[in-house]
Amino acid sequence: MSELHRCPQCQAELASDAPEGLCPKCLLEQGIKVVSLVEAASSESAEAPARGFSPPSAQELAPLFPQLEVIELLGHGGMGAVYKARQPRLDRLVALKIMRPGAAKDAAFAERFSREAKALARLSHPNIVTLHDFGQAGELYYFVMEYVDGASLRQMEQSGRLSPQQAMAIVPQVCDALQYAHDQGVVHRDIKPENILVDRKGRVKIADFGIAKLVGAAAADYTLTASQMVLGTPRYMAPEQIERPREVDQRADIYSLGVVFYEMLTGELPLGRFAPPSQKVQVDVRLDEVVLKTLEKEPERRYQHASEVKTEVEEIGRGPSVSPRPAGRAEPSGDALERLILPLLPHRKAIAVDVYRQKAGVSLAEAKEAVEAIARKHGIPDTPARINRRGLVVLLTGIIVVGALLGFAIWGLDLSPIISGAILWAFWVPFLVVPSIRIAWRYRGTTHGRRAALMAGVWLFLLVGLPVLNFLAEPEATLNWLYRVTGAKPGRHDVAFFHGLFMLMALGTLVWLIWLLRKLRRQHINQRQAAPPPGQGLAGPGTH
């Protein structure tokens, strides 16, 4: 083994194949560093790159934190570095965040640091990364925080694993965290995808609350705008955060949330004149309003509270999706729809609301309002929406009774099969089949209409089935009548033919009934799914 040289600068071991005999680490560091400030100011990007801050390794850090087991470096940025660590006594994983050395060296900073950190430690919320401890180890300022086993939104976006549905599930949790913090008087000031973490269970955790304000201009990511040093990441900052940083309140967080939301949905930043999200991706049109309102330049025109944003987003997520309606689809206009609704009021309001919702393609709440408006317009009293089961039971009982009477007349009183069949037809067709078919047609495309079709199907099935039964019971009599009427010659094939014909008709009706039932059942399930329970988690984000 060759003798070990050491780099005079960083004391690292120097392998014998080091490039030109120089320490590769120092070489690379020097290559990254900005050579002069002039170069920096004239370079195209306005952001200051990580200025040669190479974070210490986990082993190098360990002696400074005897009460922790520093496991590995997780990441680093302009502000400092984050490590995965363990508290052996509590047997839990934590995240250790250290500030760049030289971040601040005056006593005033130390005092401010302590005060701010205490305020942050008081934030206790399931969607906020908890601050466990903070302090100074040697020259380093550090935080000990909750360890989040998951990925940041930035990582999820970059690996392409963020769908609009997931975005809609993430935003309400972020709003929860923001509202809680705002209520405690803490403004985040640096909401961006890097600071929004999602753990493996789909829970959202916001990190670095208030740290932008705490750490000060020296160490936070900053940008040189008009020779001023401003805190935060420019693309996500509210306009007032750039122009009047001292007058910033919780509405700046709402703006940043809007930028993040837009980016999650469309994959782009809302810069200059940007298109509303529904024009870029397949999302609900109503989201446009919400996103645009959060991105208002004037804080007064934005949502004033994060909870408002949450309510709107959850509302949109609950109802069936409203996509911009393609032109040319003839939906019933106001009047025709009213005429459909009116006969159902007041006793079958639930059905009316359903019909309205399915015909007009609006949410449940809107349909309910509209139906109530129609009722009011026509002076119909408002009854609580209940499915009118009683009426159905009465109807069914009546039919069964009458049917039983007729059956007795046919078999008990021994009327001929043809006569009995004719009587049944005469009874059923006008009273049951025709109205059912009429309703099924008028209310086509709605559950109500399909149910009517089902009823019609049942009656028709019975109508066809009974003659079949008749025929099976008394084939001779029926056939004789048929021969007499049609003048055909009797023979075995005739029997089979008619037998088959009747069977086919019965079968056909049965198949149609089954299809109708399945369709109804599917519709029923869809309605259930359109209103999921709130707070549903995401499909797991996976490793990062």
Partner: protein, 253 residues
């Protein structure tokens, strides 16, 4: 975890007007092959084959195996352009190469053996012998193969940059200037005083300072250019440099 490096919005391929770097050329030609893109890919492969070799060795293959695998992998890569399969890694040649190689290893284990005897058309000149010699010099920590690969990648890149730098000064007929001043490239920490170097080179102290500044600037340019060749979006250069630095820096297992 949070705040890794200055954020830059979305990584990924730039538009067609960035197609001057090797890797972006290769990526842009994923659908239509062109001689220029094949050459670009060949250049890249010839430059960065050693990290893959080191990776294969660290994965437990013998020297012969690793040599064959690396050879046949590159041959297959040049033939078939595995680009369609690696969409996530397209931004960086470094990560693309590793992923493609890992896939290749898992599929081609037996085939590689047969190809060795089948007279594989060698389109690359890989100096496998020197590769093995270098590999034996690798520090024997218990690092993962991926770690070894990344570290080797960074070192290979630096070597190339230094070679180009040296060539630059040789072309200007000042090779001794490079030798004398190169020690300043690693920073002020271990460098001698400007005065002493000036005396050695027979220049004034002021001239030395200026020469050092020029050297550093040229070095930085070449470094960034070299990194840019292996990525598609030039704005990712800083990020890639950060990754390489991390690959060199940490000493954890």
């Amino acid at each position: 975890m949070c705040g890794r490096g200055p954020d830059r919005g979305f990584g990924g391929m730039g538009g067609s007007h960035f197609a001057t770097t090797h890797w972006s050329l290769v990526l842009a030609a994923a659908q239509q092959d062109s001689p220029a893109s094949r050459e670009a890919l060949a250049t890249l492969c010839e430059a960065y084959w050693y990290p893959l070799y080191a990776y294969a060795r660290r994965r437990g293959r013998s020297a012969d195996d690793a040599q064959d695998l690396t050879q046949s992998f590159f041959a297959a890569l040049l033939e078939k352009h595995f680009l369609a399969t690696a969409d996530r890694e397209r931004g960086r040649f470094r990560s693309f190469l590793l992923t493609a190689f890992q896939r290749f290893l898992s599929k081609e284990h037996d085939r590689a053996m047969a190809q060795k005897r089948g007279g594989l058309r060698r389109t690359l000149s890989l100096d496998a012998e020197s590769g093995e010699r270098r590999y034996l010099l690798e520090p024997s920590h218990d690092w993962t193969p991926e770690r070894v690969y990344e570290r080797r990648w960074a070192l290979t890149l630096l070597e190339r940059v230094m070679a180009r730098l040296r060539q630059h000064y040789a072309d200007a007929a000042k090779p001794q200037l490079f030798d004398g001043l190169k020690v300043f490239l690693a920073g002020e920490g271990g460098a001698p005083a400007h005065r002493d170097v000036a005396a050695e080179l027979g220049m004034s102290e002021g001239a030395v300072k200026v020469a050092v500044h020029r050297l550093r600037r040229r070095y930085r340019e070449l470094l960034r250019a070299e990194v840019a060749q292996t990525i598609a979006d030039p704005s990712d250069v800083d990020d890639e440099l950060g990754v390489l630095l991390a690959a060199l820096g940490s000493r954890e297992p």
